[in-house]
């Protein structure tokens, strides 16, 4: 035995990443699905931006805001889906029992799901960003270091939501699967993806500022419209993300423990 059963094991993380990689590699519909919706979204918002830009001077000046917003939104949404779908694959395959009774630790499982969310995101989003250059002359990578800050904050939020949803599914079975597909849409209006926070009524603004992605989308608009990188917004988003991530891990542990208490892991169905 080369792997310590007690401590955190990169080898067990690698085993899970390999398992998901084998699955992706064996299924072309899964690969196509990763690219399909982000491409459709980006093209739709891109053409809308072109149309509005031709008819309104503000939007002509703020060229790329919609495309940037939709790509960043997809990083948030697809990042969470990438995490959650990899987890749900275990439920569909009825393999979770094998994993729960193996030496795999929760922290290793979560790390593997985080890695897979980035892998799936890369497969889906890199072609889309290249298409955005080709169709609309929008180069996401031109944002430079700001993009790294945006990406880090969005992916952290997506992982937190993914961890929480996985806990819900372990606790409640596949009946809670719908949260994996829909929970992020709750953030769509509140995180102000396509409009500034100032548009919201006062009480909703207070809610919006509790969400890390709000700072990212405000930061993106500041960069693209005013050409200012708001490091303060990114720092605030990071602080909130750390709190959110810790809360999600604690919630996951509580949900798994409750499932073990209530014998829910014996009936991993609907």
């Amino acid at each position: 035995m080369t792997t310590s059963p007690i401590t955190y094991s990169p080898r067990r993380v690698a085993a899970m990443v390999l398992r998901y990689w084998y699955l992706l590699r064996s299924s072309w519909p899964r690969l196509v699905e990763l690219v399909y919706w982000p491409t459709v979204q980006m093209l739709m918002w891109g053409f809308l931006q072109l149309y509005i830009g031709q008819n309104a001077t503000f939007f002509a000046r703020a060229s790329g805001v919609f495309i940037g917003a939709v790509i960043l939104w997809d990083i948030l949404f697809r990042g969470q889906l990438g995490f959650s779908i990899s987890f749900l694959e275990e439920m569909y395959a009825r393999n979770l029992g094998n994993l729960m009774m193996s030496p795999l630790r929760a922290s290793e499982f979560i790390t593997a799901l985080m890695i897979m969310s980035i892998v799936r995101l890369a497969i889906g989003m890199v072609p889309v960003t290249l298409l955005a250059v080709a169709f609309f002359g929008f180069n996401l990578y031109g944002l430079g270091l700001a993009l790294a800050a945006f990406f880090a904050n969005l992916i952290l939020t997506s992982w937190s939501v993914g961890i929480f949803v996985s806990g819900l599914v372990i606790r409640n079975g596949l009946g809670a699967e719908t949260f994996a597909w829909s929970i992020m849409f709750l953030l769509l209006p509140l995180a102000c993806v396509y409009y500034p926070v100032a548009v919201l009524p006062g009480f909703l603004q207070a809610v919006a500022w509790l969400l890390p992605p709000t700072y990212v989308f405000e930061g993106m608009r500041a960069l693209m419209i005013d050409q200012v990188f708001r490091a303060d917004l990114m720092a605030q988003a990071l602080g909130l993300n750390v709190v959110l991530f810790v809360a999600a891990v604690i919630a996951f542990r509580i949900l798994v423990d409750t499932a073990r208490q209530q014998g829910a892991l014996l009936q991993m169905g609907e």
């Binding site: 035995m1 085993a15 009825r94 630790r105």
Partner: protein
């Protein structure tokens, strides 16, 4: 000095809101022994095995496996155990080789390729190794589950209905392999089953559960003699239908 028990179940209770699934059971299994856990549906067999694996937390009582308290330190011993159950499956799209490689890595197996080759030879899976697991027959899938259960050469092996839905020939082959593995490795096996033939053939000790409690616990021969029956099935029916109480009263 006798060797320490491989599994100790001490006053184990599992109560859900309105149901007591396991009601104060205690037993210990000697290393290298093979024990059958018999009982009808709802007797508490699967819950007991799940608590031994740490998948379900007991309401009270303690389970130790190879000297480790499972509820508190299961990760110290899980790499020395394994299990097989028809109620969990291997990922269908992965080939047998891929599945065994993943589980070999999870269980910390050295020389995984060598171990896969060895176990595939033992379980007659060599020609199937690169076939997707979902495209196998029920018997082949059972052999793959068994390969996964043995990939880490476990010292403690828990089996829940290991031959459910298998034809008699395949079931007999699986039983033979389990018995060989136990003898060669000195492993401790606990088998939950409805299949009396299986238990009679494999097990040197039988624990019969009913309504979450242990109704009887002895060697198959002693049970047959005590109940005055010819088969374990008859003994099981006596217990299941409450005839044991009448038998005890008559004594």
């Amino acid at each position: 000095m006798p060797a320490a028990p491989a599994i100790v179940v001490d006053h184990l209770v599992k109560a859900y809101r309105n149901v007591i699934a396991v009601d104060d059971i205690s037993f210990s299994l000697a290393p290298g022994s093979i024990t059958g856990l018999l009982g009808g549906n709802g007797a508490g067999k699967t819950t007991t095995i799940a608590m031994i694996m740490g998948l379900v937390i007991p309401t009270s009582g303690v389970v130790t496996v190879l000297g480790i308290d499972i509820a508190r330190h299961r990760h110290r011993v899980l790499h020395r155990m394994n299990f097989e159950s028809p109620y969990v499956e291997m990922p269908m799209r992965l080939t047998i080789r891929q599945n065994l490689k993943v589980f070999g890595m999870l269980y910390g197996v050295d020389d995984i390729a060598g171990r896969i080759a060895q176990i595939a030879a033992e379980l007659e899976l060599i020609d199937l190794l690169d076939r997707p697991t979902g495209k196998l027959s029920a018997g082949q899938k059972t052999r793959v589950s068994l390969a996964k259960a043995l990939i880490n050469r476990p010292e403690v092996l828990l089996l829940d209905e290991p031959t459910a839905s298998l034809d008699p020939d395949t079931a007999d082959w699986v039983r033979g392999h389990l018995d060989r593995y136990r003898r060669e490795r000195g492993a401790t096996l606990l088998i939950a089953s409805h299949n009396m033939t299986e238990v009679e053939r494999l097990c040197e000790r039988v624990i019969i559960m009913k309504g979450g409690r242990i109704e009887d616990d002895d060697t198959p021969q002693s049970l047959l003699a005590r109940y005055g029956r010819h088969t374990l099935e008859e003994v099981f029916l006596d217990v299941a239908r409450g005839r044991r109480a009448a038998w005890v009263a008559a004594q």
